[in-house]
Amino acid sequence: MGVDDVPMDDKAKRMRDLLSSFYSPDPSSPSKTPNASSRFATLDTINTTTFDADQYMNLLVQKSNLEGLLQRHVDMAAEIKNLDTDLQMLVYENYNKFVSATDAIKRMKNNIVGMETNMEQLLEKIMSVQSRSDGVNTSLFEKREHIEKLHRTRNLLRKVQFIYDLPATLAKCIKSEAYADAVKYYIGAMPIFKIYGDSSFLDCKRASEEAIAIIIKALQGKVFSDSESIQARAEAVMLLKQLDFPVNNLKEQLFEKLEQFLVDLHLDYKEIRYASSGLGGIPVSASSSAHEASIREFAEAVRAYRVIFPDSEQQLFRLAKELATKHFEATKQHIKKQVSSTDLVAMLRVIWTDVLLMDEVLPEAGLRDFTFEAAHDAIKQYVACRFSHLLLDISDALVKVHDNQKGVIEEEHPLQSALETSKKALVQGSMDALLDSRRLLDENLEVLSSLTDLIIEWVQEGFQDFFRKLNDHFFMLSGKKYSANEDLTFGEGMQGDKVLPELVLLLAQLSVFIEQNAITRITEEISSFSGGGTRGYENSSAFVPAEICRIFRSAGEELLQHYISLKTQKILIVLKKRFTTPNWVKHKEPREVHMFVDLLLQELDTILNEVKQILPEGLQPKHRRTDSNGSATSSRSNPLRDDRLVRSNTQKARSQLLESHLAKLFKQKMEIFTKVEHTQESVITTIIKLFLKSLQEFVRLQTFNRSGFQQIQLDIHFLKTTLKDTAEDEAAVDFLLDEVIVAAAERCLDPIPLEPAILDRLTQAKLAKNSDQSSTS
């Protein structure tokens, strides 16, 4: 390696680097690879672009032994030789191709020289051909002109001949009844008549017109005659139309005929419906078959009409729809008059057969769809009607209760029987409604079966709606809801007179019955009703028994509460009178139990009477006494008491009240106002408790002298003995009675109680007097 070689080598390397950087996909690699190859080069790099000969040499020398080197040398020499020969081969082949290409170009140059003269000859020949053909053309022109003229004349002559012959032809046609041909000829002659009819062909025209008039008449007759085949009639109409005859008149006349038929049919239909309903819904009577026949006839007529006047479809559709509409209107009228489902089914059946007949004739009229829709509406209306009737029935039953109460109808248990009747009305009515709807489903009429799912849904919806309305109605009857339904006739009637507590109680109990009994029964019935179609039942949210139950549960509670408050209001008036009238500070010594107690007991008796009729008896008395009194209390109130004691200790100013408070702490906090249940005892007890609490509050508002206090004491003592039997929650009642006395003592200027002996004596006297009265009366 010489010194000169070094720059050369550098230059070559740089060139190679530049090239490789240009072609390399990764721009970073060329800068790296030289370093990498210098360090980690192997013998395989000989074929790469970054081959470094010196390095390769060095590596080879380092790595191989002499023998290997020699071997390598031999291999390499052989490879080089091979490469040389390949190179030579390539050069030679390319040279060959070049030579042949040059040859081809030379030949092309020679061939082109003769072409131009050939082209000129061609042009000349074409010119001569053209001039000859022109000559032929001119020579033949005259003759052709002549032939054409002759031909035209002949045509004209033939036409004239035809026109002259026309009347005769027509007459011949009339004779053979070949009206179609006649019309064809006549129409063919028309343009000529139009132009020359007033001059040269006057006679001809007149004669043929006469003939045509005859034809028209004949055709008209044909159209109207029912004996002719439809085809023939249709053809006749076609011909008439071609003759510019006013076909529309005909059409209208025919159509009127059809319409008239429909009107007649309607009457017919009514009869038939009566007949069928009279026969229990089996349309086999003579009139029904007559009906069917007439419908068939009508269908035939329509078919004919349709064929005759193919463009009159719309009118016919309208007609068919009118027929269906008429049917359904009649049905709806009957639905309004409350029909049973069998009748409805019968009606639908009649309609359906009619519709099927019509549908055969007019399949495009969409009569089926129309009928489905109409049936859809009708059944929906039917279901809705059914439920509104049900609601009316029930409210009638209730109003009757109302009236009975007002009237002086002596019955032993008016309320009880009223409850039973309204219960029955409700359940029976609902069941009937269901049965009716079920009958609709059981009929395998095509209209109905396609509506099955919908009907189920409607019935469920109907029930849902019905119960909701019933709930509203209850509230309206109970007078709890004003203003909203003020304008309704119901509301006014109820608003006018006072709401009867008995009715409220009745409604309350009815609500409970609905919630606990009726709903489950109806739900069962409905689920069996939707039958195999559980799908409908599952995903339809139309009838939600849970919701209805919830509504009626709250309604029952509310109504019961309302009853109680109505009753307590009555008692309250008595109490108010009792406490506001006398001057308690100047009260005289008590001689007997005050008569307001009698009034109260009387009121309680009526309540008891009402309640006993309607409400169920409660469970066994819940031993509240042991629950809330005695030893159990101490453990319960321990933390409570501590808390209170601490609190009261921090507040110093407590002397007198503290004692009574502490005493109370052990006694009180029994639940005075428990939830009202739908049992006799619970209602009575609640009313008594409310009454006693009111008594206490009234007492607290007064100031008593000793005698006043003693009077209260006496009254309470008497009440204690009498109420014991009626009230369920004795502990609470006792407590409240004591509270009244405590309150009276607190409000008394001089609280010295009566001797127990005197109390007992006066109480006994009163009891004796009461029993006397009851025995005499």
Partner: protein, 350 residues
């Protein structure tokens, strides 16, 4: 017991019925209450919520000659208040001034500024002119309505006008319209009567019996809330008196008193003889168009009862919102316990 007592308690020595917010005290939240004891010496307590809000402090304890049936605080002078008192057959009403010696242990005497002694039947209540320095006062007895003109400096009160409501209508109480200072609503046995003070005539009436207490809505005009013995709470629009706008169930026994919140127009507090205080959220339709149709749905999804404070031992007769801190109210049960509660934890989140 489920009401839980987050409230702060304070015990009076005797039984008590009435408590009033001291409206004129702008620095503290304080209440005045008076006891009802037939035989002992009655007291008026001035109670203040400590600055931390955790304690009720007795700021003043004054003896009062008779048992107190009604108590009203003067809206412009925190030291002046009026009471209605009676014992046995004697009755009366007076305006009192608290002496300046606060915080002394012995009971200083209240100064009687004026006696409202024109009445000849049992006095039911006194009402102050709703707001501001206005020296007018109304007192109501069973049959009559007196409008007093009251002079603080001269310390006397004179009858300005008087009218009888008739013997048949035994009046029980009333409220002064905070929107129209000439209007007054009175409760009587059989109806609620609306009076005009200028003419001293009854202008209208709601024929609804057994109303025990009523209150005007401070924030919403034409709205009157009544409490009844049996049928709960009714809210009326004074422009259509035929039917109540809204009913609330009230209490299990009598609903004794109702008070509308001074700030929040929908909040109503009621106390009853079932030993409970109920907090209601009565969302009324907008007052511009009172449509009765919108009440068709009785089963409203929201329960109007926000909370029932049932931690009382006896009937609750006294109830007062604090005007200074309108989320605080004081209640007074018959056993003499004052409980001050905050309604904040029960307000609906917005």
């Amino acid at each position: 017991m489920q009401g839980g007592s987050n409230g702060i308690g304070y015990g009076l020595k005797y039984q008590a019925r009435c408590i009033a917010d001291v409206k004129a005290d702008t620095d503290h939240t304080s209440f005045l209450t008076g006891t009802l004891s037939l035989k002992e010496e009655n007291e008026v307590h001035l109670i203040r919520i400590s600055s931390a809000g955790t304690e009720l402090l007795c700021e003043g304890l004054f003896s009062h000659p008779n048992e107190i049936w009604d108590l009203a605080s003067c809206p412009f002078d925190q030291r002046i208040f009026s009471t209605v008192f009676s014992s046995g057959e004697t009755y009366g009403a007076a305006i009192w001034q608290i002496p300046e010696l606060y915080g002394q242990s012995n009971s200083p005497q209240l100064e009687r500024i004026a006696s409202l002694d024109a009445h000849n039947s049992k006095i039911k209540c006194t009402l102050w002119w709703p707001t501001g320095r206005h020296d007018k006062l109304v007192s109501i007895d069973e049959q009559n309505l007196f409008l007093w003109s009251f002079d603080t400096s001269k310390k006397n009160a004179q009858v300005q006008s008087q009218e009888s409501a008739g013997v048949l209508h035994s009046l029980t109480g009333g409220a002064w319209d905070p929107h129209d200072y000439n209007a007054l609503a009175l409760t009587s046995e059989s109806s609620v009567q609306l009076w005009d003070l200028r003419t001293m005539k009854k202008t209208n009436s709601i024929d609804h019996p057994h109303v025990r207490n009523l209150d005007y809505n401070v924030k919403r005009e034409y709205t009157l809330v009544t409490a009844e013995d049996e049928s709960g709470i009714h809210i009326w629009d004074l422009r259509m008196l035929k039917f109540p706008v809204l009913d609330l169930p009230g209490h299990t026994h009598w609903t004794w008193t109702v008070k509308c919140n001074p700030e929040h127009e929908d909040l109503i507090l009621s106390a009853g003889t079932d030993s409970a205080v109920n907090l209601w959220l009565a969302s009324l339709p907008s007052s511009d168009e009172p449509t009765p149709e919108s009440f068709d749905s009785p089963n409203k999804p929201v329960d109007p009862l926000l909370n029932s404070y049932s931690d009382y031992e006896d009937s609750v007769y006294g109830l007062a919102w604090s005007c200074r801190e309108p989320w605080i109210f004081a209640s007074l049960s018959y056993d003499g316990r004052v409980v001050v509660e905050s309604i904040k934890p029960h307000l609906p989140r917005k």
